[in-house]
């Protein structure tokens, strides 16, 4: 599929065909009373400003800092994530999978764009794009290389194709040199891509 951000240098004074069609349909649906524009604004604001990967980072940081929480998260992630107030649409059934020195987990949805919204927000364009969806299952190491990530040859890679309503959250390995860190500080190390499995967490020196 086309990566729309590559075609983003158009003149904004000219409305594209898509812009006009979306605007027209919103007018029709509003005039018919099927949608309330204030509800649309709130939906956009929620996913633009409130629900994003910072949520997932807090979950991972708590799992790093708190062994009892980690055990609950890995056993049954949906209620464990709910403890932090994150739940709902596209995260009704969440499974957390943990990276270890011998196993690296990576999440894809080859059939569409399934992604754990309550903890990661809306997926980036690359996650929904044909290059990622086609190759993640057949050549995961090649895909990781596109992200600048090289794993030891001895590390096994497990790819989770999100074909049902189960959503997967990767719990990356806690970086070295973080003993005694607070959850808040640990959360600054947790990147979005590290929770998809296409990246690794930051190291303490990245924050310096």
């Amino acid at each position: 599929m086309a990566n729309d951000h590559h075609h983003h240098d158009h003149d904004h004074s000219e409305l594209s065909d898509t812009q006009l069609r979306v605007r027209a349909l919103e007018t029709v649906l509003t005039e018919k009373g099927y949608v309330d524009p204030a509800a649309l604004d709130l939906l956009i604001e929620t996913y633009e400003k409130k629900v994003g990967p910072r949520n997932g980072a807090r979950v991972v940081a708590r799992a790093w800092a708190n062994p009892a929480y980690r055990a609950r998260l890995l056993k049954d992630a949906t209620p464990a994530i709910g403890e932090l107030g994150y739940a709902g649409r596209q995260g009704e059934h969440i499974v957390a999978v943990e990276n270890t020195p011998t196993l690296h987990n990576m999440v894809v949805c080859t059939l569409c764009s399934c992604y754990p919204w309550p903890v990661l927000g809306l997926p980036p364009v690359w996650y929904k794009s044909a290059p990622y969806r086609s190759r993640a299952v057949a050549d995961p190491r090649g895909v990781l290389k596109d992200f600048g990530v090289t794993l030891p040859a001895s590390t096994k890679i497990r790819v989770w194709d999100s074909t049902s309503e189960i959503r997967y959250l990767v719990v990356p390995m806690r970086p070295a040199g973080t003993d005694g860190w607070t959850e808040e500080r640990l959360a600054d190390l947790v990147t979005r891509d590290s929770m998809i499995g296409t990246g690794l967490p930051k190291s303490p020196k990245d924050l310096a």
Binding site: G33, Q90, V125
Partner: protein, 220 residues
């Protein structure tokens, strides 16, 4: 359907190109298309599997040339027209020209956070027992329905191992056609990279899919 959405294992799409500091939306119309799609679920009355089928059921050339929100928007228009909630002349005019059809409910601003927080769980109660247990060898069936399915082509005919029994969940293949939820046991099934991709496959990789019971046969 063996459609353009079923991408696993295809070649030729090029490298993955992550965008640094990517914004949540790239244009105003994406925000509106996203919000319209979410908000119309309630009055539109369709389910998530019908939405997915409306997105994927188009020619590969069309699907692959569209951005993801363009696909969402095209599917929204299609579902609205199929249900006569909106007509062609209204889309052209950009205004309502006919009396609205009665709809079950409209999403009010006060309900947005509640509705998002509740989501749409797909697990259903059951008195039945799962046919497979973790460790069982299973073969993904070679099925090719022209309608919606969540069994990707790249696992069909291949043997994997049941990793876990997830629960009893709505079956998308029937839910997408309006034939009902027909819930079934759902499993995570793990395949070795070489089982899926042959000798060229990465021997250190494993891939799992979530598969409903009727997708699987015993292979012990």
């Amino acid at each position: 359907m063996n459609g353009p959405q079923d991408l696993g294992g295809m070649d030729g799409f090029g490298p993955v190109e992550p965008e640094p500091n990517e914004p949540v939306f790239h244009d105003d119309w994406e925000k509106r298309a996203f919000a319209l799609t979410l908000a119309m679920g309630m009055p539109g009355g369709w389910n998530i599997d019908q939405s997915r089928f409306a997105r994927e059921n188009r020619s590969p050339a069309e699907y692959w040339s569209m951005s993801y929100y363009q696909i969402w928007f095209a599917a929204l228009e299609r579902m609205l027209k199929e249900r006569a909630l909106v007509t062609d002349d209204e889309v052209v005019a950009g205004h309502s020209l006919h009396k609205p059809k009665p709809v079950p409910r409209v999403l009010s601003p006060g309900d947005v956070l509640k509705v998002l927080h509740r989501g749409g769980p797909t697990e259903r109660p059951t008195n039945t027992k799962p046919a497979f247990k973790p460790g069982n060898a299973v073969r993904a069936k070679n099925i090719n329905p022209p309608t919606h399915t969540r069994l990707p082509r790249y696992v069909r005919g291949h043997v994997g191992t049941v990793d876990r029994v997830i629960g009893f969940h709505v079956f998308p293949d029937s839910n997408a056609t309006g034939a009902g939820e027909n819930p079934q046991w759902l499993y995570t099934v793990r395949f070795e990279g070489r089982e899926l991709w042959g000798p060229d496959g990465d021997p250190t990789s494993q891939v799992s899919v979530d598969a409903w019971e009727s997708y699987l046969t015993p292979a012990d």
